[in-house]
């Protein structure tokens, strides 16, 4: 047989479209979906801020007072960024959402980037892809392009919602400035995607890479905070990525020059990430990994101790987030209370039974945000439970003399304890914040407000355990989806009329806005009871089903 005959004897096979860009296509699918979802969150927050401003501060006098109180308040500027032209819808919207979305976007950027780079490497999937028709630096470059597309998706959705919101006669945002505002809101996500790409090369695990990214974010926030503190350190803003975003000042006084810093930072870090990929072996890290450690056996006597040890970093992270948020809420309560005095918010709260006003009213609204955080703490506990099963690690415990009920019961009790601790600490630290400003709200009502946000968390935890028991593969989507749905209902419900039945599906809708009004302990007990029933159903179902990995 001749060589050509041998070749022609090979059966035809289907060729991959373009094998060299496979990694880009795999990453882009995941990244763009995430970008679109977050774009929707950004859009809802922008629309909510603009429309609620129009609704809460309908009179120019109220708007002027807002500008007077917050426009030159250096303490508030240090925390939330400078407030410019707060007597306008545009100025207030920028002030209201910029810092929150800047930080959320940065966290999203770090998590997405480390997931698609270091996370894929940790899971061994990158090895399979890099073994194809590409090189490691090219693979990193392809992921970076996919991440760029994700930010484009985020920008597009944010811009669309901002433009549409701006067409309202009471809001009025022009198209050009709206698009620039969307650029400013997406900028921190873009920069921190690049930060995550570099830390993914430096760190040995995804968790480490995310931690390094969080450190960069923390330093960046602290520098910006100093710059905005009114101590004559405004120039420091040029040393912080978050400072560059502030300098853009969309709507009020646009400074597009700062975009050069943002673009330079992003491109520079992206090139560095690709370069570092080429300098190391696949699976290794630029920083030397601590692969050896001294044994610490303290918590490893029982499965519950193991859970506590494994969850310790994330529990501490969530508790710190709740505590800092509560401290900030307390810190600004006095000033914010003066602004909303006599506004429609107070009228709504009065209809709900509020007898006090000012700081109490503001805190009543602000504890809803803390309740959302506590609900996310609960959702995180549920997904950690599912993670042990889907990762196959639970087999190693359940194949030993460990009953399913004791394992899941222990995890549920641990989750409930974390939720309760988060609520109580929120009350305590909100009081400390209020105390620092002589805000005039005592410890008792704030501790009750802290207890008041625990039942929604317990409800989410219990319902999440029920889904875990009955439909384990849906756990993560269902539990985070429910918290996001509840939040959405609250936001949309705050803007306009929403059907009562739909409002009732939100776990936050049943929570009294304490300390503005007295906590509704009956509703709290009902939510806690629903949580207990859900947990019970989950335990029962888990006892009778197969263990299911991914």
């Amino acid at each position: 047989m001749t060589a050509s005959a041998e070749v022609s004897a090979v059966p035809p096979f289907q060729l991959e479209r373009s094998p060299g860009s496979l990694i880009f296509r795999v990453s882009a699918g995941k990244a763009v979906r995430s970008g679109l979802a977050w774009g929707a969150v950004y859009g809802i927050m922008v629309a909510s801020a603009a429309l609620s401003y129009v609704s809460i501060y309908p009179h120019q006098a109220q708007r002027d007072q807002l500008e007077l109180l917050f426009g030159s308040n250096h303490a508030a500027s240090a925390l939330f960024g400078p407030g410019n032209q707060l007597q306008t819808v545009a100025g207030f919207t920028v002030y209201k959402v910029s810092m929150t979305l800047m930080i959320l976007g940065a966290i999203w950027g770090i998590l997405l980037s480390t997931r698609l780079l270091r996370g894929e490497e940790d899971a061994g999937r990158m090895e399979l892809l890099v073994a194809g028709q590409t090189t490691r630096p090219r693979a990193t470059a392809q992921v970076l392009v996919a991440l760029g597309l994700a930010v484009s998706a985020l920008w597009a959705v944010t811009a669309l919602v901002t433009v549409v919101t701006g067409r309202s006669s009471s809001v009025v945002f022009r198209v050009g400035p709206s698009l620039f505002f969307a650029v400013a809101l997406s900028a921190s996500a873009l920069m921190f995607l690049a930060v995550g790409a570099v830390t993914s090369q430096m760190a040995a695990t995804r968790r480490q890479a995310s931690t390094y990214g969080a450190i960069v974010l923390g330093v960046s926030y602290a520098i910006r905070m100093l710059a905005d503190s009114g101590a004559g350190l405004d120039w420091l803003r040029w040393l912080s990525p978050l400072g560059w975003v502030e300098i853009l000042q969309p709507f009020t006084d646009p400074q597009p020059l700062a975009l050069l810093c943002i673009a330079g930072f992003t491109i520079g870090l992206s090139i560095l990430a690709v370069h570092l990929t080429g300098l190391r072996d696949l699976g290794s890290s630029t920083f030397r990994d601590r692969s050896h450690a001294r044994a610490k056996l303290g918590l490893l006597r029982r499965p519950l101790g193991l859970s506590a040890r494994l969850l310790r970093p994330s529990i501490i992270g969530w508790i710190v987030a709740v505590v800092l948020s509560a401290l900030l809420v307390g810190f600004v309560a006095k000033a914010a209370g003066q602004v909303i005095r006599g506004s429609s918010v107070e009228q709504i709260l009065a209809r709900l039974g509020a007898t006090s006003s000012g700081a109490n009213s503001y805190l009543g609204m602000a504890f809803l945000i803390l309740a959302v955080l506590v609900a996310f703490v609960a959702a995180n506990q549920v997904t950690a439970v599912r993670g042990e099963e889907s990762g196959g690690r639970l087999d190693a415990l359940i194949a030993r003399p460990v009953s399913r009920v004791s394992w899941l019961g222990g995890r549920t009790a641990l989750g409930a304890s974390v939720v309760a601790a988060a609520g109580l600490l929120a009350g305590l630290f909100a009081w400390l914040g209020v105390l620092s400003q002589s805000g005039g709200v005592s410890l008792g009502p704030l501790m009750k407000a802290g207890v008041n946000i625990v039942p929604p968390g317990l409800c989410v935890l219990g319902l999440g355990i029920a889904v875990f028991g009955l439909f384990p593969r849906l756990t993560t989507k269902a539990v985070y989806g429910y918290v996001a749905w509840s939040l959405l209902i609250e936001i949309v419900g705050g803007i306009g009329a929403v059907n009562h039945v739909i409002l009732d599906t939100s776990v936050f809708h049943h929570m009294a806005p304490a300390p503005a009004v007295s906590p509704n302990w009956t509703a709290g007990m009902v939510m806690a009871a629903i949580g207990c029933a859900g947990a019970g159903a989950g335990l029962f179902a888990f006892r009778s089903r197969d263990l299911k990995s991914e």
């Binding site: 940790d122 040995a204 695990t205 990994d289 601590r290 692969s291 050896h292 450690a293 001294r294 044994a295 610490k296 056996l297 490893l300 006597r301 029982r302 499965p303 193991l306 494994l310 990762g391 196959g392 690690r393 087999d395 190693a396 415990l397 359940i398 194949a399 030993r400 003399p401 460990v402 009953s403 009778s544 089903r545 197969d546 263990l547």
Partner: protein
Amino acid sequence: MLKNEVAVATHRLTKRYGSIDALADLDLEIAAGEIFGYLGPNGAGKTTTIRLLLGLARPTEGSATVFGMDCWSDAVEVHRRVSYVPGDVNLWPSLTGFETLSLLGNVQGRVDVDYRDDLIARFGLDVSKKVRAYSKGNRQKVVLIAALMSRPDLLVLDEPTAGLDPLMEQEFRRCVHEAKARGQTIFLSSHILSEVEALCDRVAILRDGRLVEVGTLSEMRHLSSVTVEVTVAGDVPDLSQVEGVTAVQVAGQRIHCQVQGSIDPLLRALSAVPVTSLLSREPSLEELFLALYGEDRGERRAS
């Protein structure tokens, strides 16, 4: 453990996933102290059987008992007497090897500490290393040591030597022999047929979720042909028409053939010529396995 005790018994054990029978009507009995090999190609139902025996999955029909206790309803009691080495090792990446062994020992409730330390030395495992830094083979060593160190009455091993180098495989075989000498029962699911052949007292073979053969190797010899090599002094007889004789190959005075069933017809055919040598070799487990599945594949192609 009582003498003549039944370690594992299944009765019409069945597991269905939707319309797929992962395991169907499995009847099995394994005596205490036995090393039992469990064979089958990928997807035959081996891991499903193990998950049912460990109570990680619930039978659709039928039942399974370990030392007389039901694998599903008495799972915790069963697990006090069982240790398991999974085929796909998933451990906690942030724990070190020693922390993992301590945790699993504490959870199991009993550990022979001297034996554990001996096993760590024999397998050459660096227990101060974090699990995420271990190679596949080293992760396999951790779960092997974790299973052996509690000296359970029943060891359930699912592909236990995957990722181990040949020296470590030998060490594993020594550990299994030691376990048998102590009276422990071993349920060994493996693709390494030489390992099963070297270690197991009895073997079961699964196909498409059904048990097709079970017995000692000698009892299973009928599944495959005996290989015969004959050297004759005179004319080479025509053996192609002899009952049970196949694959006849002639090279000079030497004849090579396969004999299925009784060897008598071949001996009668050879009685007419002077035979200078006659060698026969029984089939290895690999030949038995291939014969069984080769037949199956042939049937499938034909259908």
